[in-house]
Symmetry: C2
Subunit: 455 residues, 2 copies
């Protein structure tokens, strides 16, 4: 349990911390749009300055993209070490007209702050900083060494944090990596995510005639790239959605019975799914519940199809080309490179006659599985239970956080995926928000974790 | 054979007629773009004025769209009657930067006139007007009654000419309808087209979730509209391109042996096809030559696919919707409405689970078959042979000219598809052109046809 003084500090500074968070949120640090490069640098300086003021040794690394902040408290070898990861950059704000208030002018309503980055990830990063501040300002001795790695390219797919981690594994050595970029299970139930799906993202390009042809003049004489692409994509999955790429399921770790039991207890129903998604029905391979498919079964989804004419009404052409983007979400122990290769081989094998087919592997991410039984996991669960005042559950996540795999590989330490947001917080969408209660509870949880991890 | 005086007039007025055609071509009568409405009206007036000057009774009908011109010479019951159809409107000119000279400033180079509408269809319409002028200016008695129906909505899919024809069948009564909107077989071989394909144009719309979903968060839980659409489209055709819609081939008239022989004599090879299209190979159902498939076999082609993300790189979504545009080119005696209905029924039957599927029939056109053995057909062939100085061939066309079906139905007269352009004249593309030799030969052919048809 953390010192009472530390928690009291957090309680008595709630409004001040919200005001500071709003200053942070006012900086439009959109990393993927070059016109915001100065703002992105300003957001990095905001974080660096706070950490410097708390007495940390702060390094601002320039690896060719946006600044990467690495910081650490005094390192005492007799203490355990926690490394906190987060990002200060934010998603673009389009479509702007769907925002109820300007994305970079934070508005607080009903104890919710609305702004781009409120939840993803400025608000969550800030909980850790404020937790550390509480120890330092109250003069309470830190139970652990604390390290931060805060990047500015998460939303732009930048490489800086990967390069830095590979080159500085010794400096970043730690007993656990804390990543707050997932979500609570729901409004009343905190959770630790112990598995992330990986990803193999593919693009299939089909080339036919040298230009769009008149479908009357040349219909019946050449292969149509649009039809050929549909044939390929249709052959990727069977009628119930199982992927047909050979070997796809070979390395899939089956769910353990206690995992299935845990998922079942969460009470997620197809009615909830339909309400959340607007889909007419749940759909997927038999033998698994919807939550099991969502969290623990690999997928193969079309992300985009483009061919020929997409405007209003009719245009009678045989398109010159057709393209599909297909993502496969992978689960432990599938290997993204192996799957991508199997996908390429399969598509080339089934490619219809009369067209040229290319398959490119755009990018990959490794799936993540964190053992549920460890001292650090127990410390995380206890901290959440105290910080949020509710019993936490183990959850998994269908999305990918590619850096987590790199942390595991390079730092050989367990990752605590401790999310304080909600899945309904509109990250990547208009009207992104963060519940202030979750902000405050998150800061308490981080402070408690520093104490619990030391035990 | 037409009077020597008439043909001599055409020969001695070649340059003057080209100059007048250029005046016609300078009018940017783009019917589908409302900013050109005044110009389109001006082009109608240009045609109407010429016909009035030749002494015809001219009617400019306003049926809610662009003006429709109907004109006729004195009608003498002892003469046969030819009805000439054409259009004075033109296609849009995008992409403008691919034109070597401005589309509405005609340029003549190497006896070729370059301008939008040069071939499609102002140049061809003008051959008939100039043929008639030759008779009238030379005071040679017309061998036939001549009627014109010249519309301004062909490139915009307007209804005026259909409505007018249905309401004025008696006035338009004739022994043959002459349509110059197809092409010569090639530069050295004239031809009469005796069959056009019909069309059933369909749009398949697949609806899944209420919005694009994160493919990680919801992958594996709902049907993906992109995958579902691919499944549907793939089921439309077999591996060699035969359409799988039940009953699709039931009413297809098999080619007669003399048609197959005629096609074979034309010497069209897959090498020519590959050169024309840039496709890597010829493709299509076995048992038919490429030309047989092009001209006489029904097709089923994707014209467009749209779903989810089509931009650069990766976006990880389950798209909310997916749409395909599919055109079926039909041959005699397929019925477009029957085929469209069979298509709808089939798609609804094979629609995958977990999505809502809609199929709309955007528009139809009936296939056309003109008997090759008739007095009018013989007159047409003779006129072409004399006018172009080369033996003409019978050809078919994979494209559709929907008004031809309406003419056949309402006027019960044979249609002579007498094209003077070339398939390489870039109609609907930048640098549209018309060979002046074909313009002059076309005018001679039209003049000769007026005499031959009277026999």
């Amino acid at each position: 349990m953390a010192s009472e003084k530390v928690l009291a500090y957090l309680d008595s500074h709630q409004q001040e911390h919200v005001a500071q968070l709003c200053d942070f949120l006012r900086i439009p640090s959109i990393s993927s749009q070059s016109e915001y490069a100065d703002d992105t640098r300003r957001a990095a300086a905001f974080v660096a300055d706070e950490l410097k003021e708390l007495g940390l040794k702060v390094e601002i690394a320039d690896l060719g993209g946006h600044p990467l902040i690495y910081a650490e408290t005094e390192i005492r070898p007799d203490r355990k070490t926690l490394l906190f990861y987060g990002h200060y950059d934010v998603q673009p704000v389009d479509p702007l007209d769907l925002w109820d208030s300007p994305p970079f002018e934070p508005v607080i309503k009903d104890e919710i702050v609305y702004a781009r980055g409120a939840c993803d990830d400025k608000g969550q990063v800030y909980t850790h900083i404020k937790a550390l501040e509480a120890y330092i300002r109250e003069g309470v001795e830190l139970p652990v060494n604390v390290k931060f790695i805060i990047e500015g390219e998460e939303e732009a797919g930048g490489e800086s944090v990967y390069t830095y981690t590979e080159q500085n594994a010794e400096k970043m050595a730690c007993d656990a990596i804390v990543v707050s970029d997932t979500a609570l299970y729901n409004e009343t139930t905190p959770g630790i995510c112990y598995s992330l799906k990986g990803l193999a993202y593919m693009e299939i390009r089909v080339f036919g005639p040298g230009m769009d042809l008149h479908s009357g003049s040349y219909g019946g004489t050449v292969q149509n790239p649009g039809n050929a692409l549909a044939e390929i994509v249709a052959a990727l999955k069977d009628k119930e959605g199982r992927c047909l790429v050979p070997g796809f399921y070979d390395d899939v770790l089956e769910l353990e019975q206690d995992e299935r039991d845990g998922f079942a207890e969460l009470g997620y129903t197809d009615e909830i799914l339909k309400k959340e998604t607007g889909a007419p029905a749940a759909f997927g391979e038999s033998g698994f519940t919807t939550l099991e498919r969502m969290w623990a079964r690999p997928t193969c989804d079309v992300n985009g199809l483009v061919s020929g004419y997409g405007g209003e009404g009719a245009k009678t052409i045989i398109p010159a080309t057709a393209t599909a983007k297909v993502s496969m979400r992978l689960v432990p122990d599938q290997n993204a490179e192996t799957i991508a290769k199997a996908f390429q081989d399969y598509v080339m094998k089934i490619a219809p006659a009369g067209v040229k087919v290319e398959v490119e592997n755009l990018h990959n991410a490794a799936p993540v599985l964190v053992p549920r039984k460890s001292d650090m996991m127990r410390a995380g669960m206890r901290s959440l239970e105290i910080g949020f005042g509710a019993k936490p559950v183990f959850i998994r996540e269908g999305g990918s956080i590619p850096i987590v795999g790199t942390f595991q590989d390079c730092l050989k330490a367990p990752v605590l995926l401790l999310g304080y947001g909600l899945s309904t917080d509109n990250i990547h969408s208009p009207n992104e928000k963060f519940h202030l209660q979750n902000f405050w509870r998150g800061a308490r949880t981080s402070a408690i974790l520093m104490a619990e991890a030391a035990k």
